[in-house]
Amino acid sequence: MILAVAGGKGGVGKSTVAYNLGAALPAVVVDADLGMADLPRGRGPDLHDVLAGRADPVEAVRGSPVRLLPCGRSLAGARAADVTALADALRAVERECGDVVVDCPAGMRADAGVPLAVADCCVVVASPRPFALADAVRTRALARELDAGLVGVVLNRTVDEPPVDAVERTLGAPVTTVPADPRVAASVADRAPVVVAAPESRAAAGIEALSRAVQSCRPA
């Protein structure tokens, strides 16, 4: 199964959710933010190399505890990368490594659209603020147009009482909340997914709930 983690807005925590969901499922996390990647890169070939035809996608998968296909950081790499090759790369990783979680870039251009077009389903990440919700609605519309079924919406970094009902009504999908938790924020940099580092936390429970929702949408 290929799952896209999308959300029109930048900075809402798509990469963090993708990383932690990758640990919970488990799945290979592909950092498809070609212009502004932020999952750990490490050494070796990256997605820029794969999309420029210089590396095999499966050989670029590495790392633990979450397996990653990282993305390069250079503008030259982003320019040389052919986003039309992303579909084949994702399918190749799915064939060899099993489930794939794609961390999509912000925005509404093809680099965000191609993962949605390839994905079996998607998760939209939003922050619990009114302005972020508008972007989530746009991303849901794009996902619908590109045939990526919406598994659910993640309200990330919630504090107090998040507007779950309002979001569910607006987006027409079940909402999972991930409370603000410094351990989630640090999980990517520390390579310590919250489901492993703090399995009893409410954030880990949110990620686990999301993981179950994704599993239940697995295509037959």
């Binding site: 320019r79 986003v83 579909a87 093809a110 659209g113 390839v118």
Partner: protein, 283 residues
């Protein structure tokens, strides 16, 4: 299925436009095959061929009683007919296919950074060639000549064929070699400019003369110039013309900056007053 076509051919490229009309009361699936001697170059959006096109031709559904128009290019001489219908059958009712990644690219547009945003260091320095090299005039020209060619190469970083880059590199090496050879014997005579500068001026003048002959030229004149270019250089034809245009533009920039610097230096030279007599008295 009524098929009507026109073909427009120029400089070895044929542009084929096709009109299909379905006079029947049912939708029909039609496949067109390119009969020209080369792959069909389909219309593209964001670099991605439109749906239904491949290297052999085009497949589409013509609705009942309606028309569909299509067009493509082919690097081949014209033929009669350029296209043929290889499939014409009743179109089955099918659900629209789920959008492919290519659709997403066509509809949303690529998000790659613009060429100007990409540092050119990947392929060597791309800064404007600096005129004010501190040492002898000869080497200043050498760095200009190679700098200019590198700039041309660097603009082609990502999307040109290797051949051109190799040629650029070869040009740069040539420039270096030429200057090296002449550098040692640089003339310091008061009335003549140093040899590398003179030869650079000569080269630039030759290019500019050629460009002048092509400016507002009649067809026979232009053909004569192009033929001369073809025999003199391995890079002829339209590639040669492109190169000439780029070369003349670079010449204009360089010559202007050289002129500006030369004027400035001349003014300073005139203004400077070496107190020869006073120093002689002191000595």
């Amino acid at each position: 299925m009524d098929l009507d076509w026109t073909i427009d051919s120029s400089a070895g490229v044929s542009l084929v436009s096709v009109r299909l009309r379905n006079p029947t009361p049912v939708d029909r699936r039609v496949r067109l095959r390119n009969r020209l001697d080369g792959p069909a170059l389909p219309p593209r959006t964001e670099g991605v061929p439109e749906a239904g096109w491949d290297a052999d031709g085009y497949e589409t559904v013509v609705p009942a009683g309606e028309r569909v128009v299509a067009g493509y290019a082919c690097r081949a001489p014209p033929a009669d007919p350029p296209v043929e219908v290889t499939l014409d059958e009743r179109a089955d009712e099918v659900d629209p296919p789920s959008p492919a990644p290519a659709d997403a690219v066509r509809r949303l547009g690529r998000a790659s950074p613009p060429r100007d945003a990409v540092p050119a260091s990947a392929s060597g320095p791309a800064t404007r060639p600096a005129i004010d090299a501190p040492d002898a005039t000869g080497s200043a020209v050498a760095s200009d000549a190679t700098g200019a060619t590198e700039t041309t190469g660097a603009t082609n970083v990502t999307d040109t064929d290797d051949a051109e880059e190799t040629e650029d590199a070869a040009d740069a090496m040539d420039a270096e070699r030429t200057t090296d050879a002449t550098d040692g014997g640089a003339a310091t005579d008061a009335t003549t400019v140093p040899e590398p500068v003179a030869s650079w001026f000569d080269d630039a003048e030759a290019r500019i003369e050629r460009a002048e002959r092509l400016t507002d030229a009649s067809v026979p004149e232009a053909t004569a110039v192009m033929e001369a270019m073809n025999t003199e250089s391995t890079v002829g034809g339209l590639d040669g013309i492109d190169r000439l245009a780029a070369g003349v533009a670079t010449d204009a920039d360089l010559l202007r900056s050289v002129a500006a610097r030369a004027t400035g230096l001349a003014e300073r030279a005139e203004a400077a007053d070496v107190p020869v007599d006073a120093l002689r008295r002191l000595a």
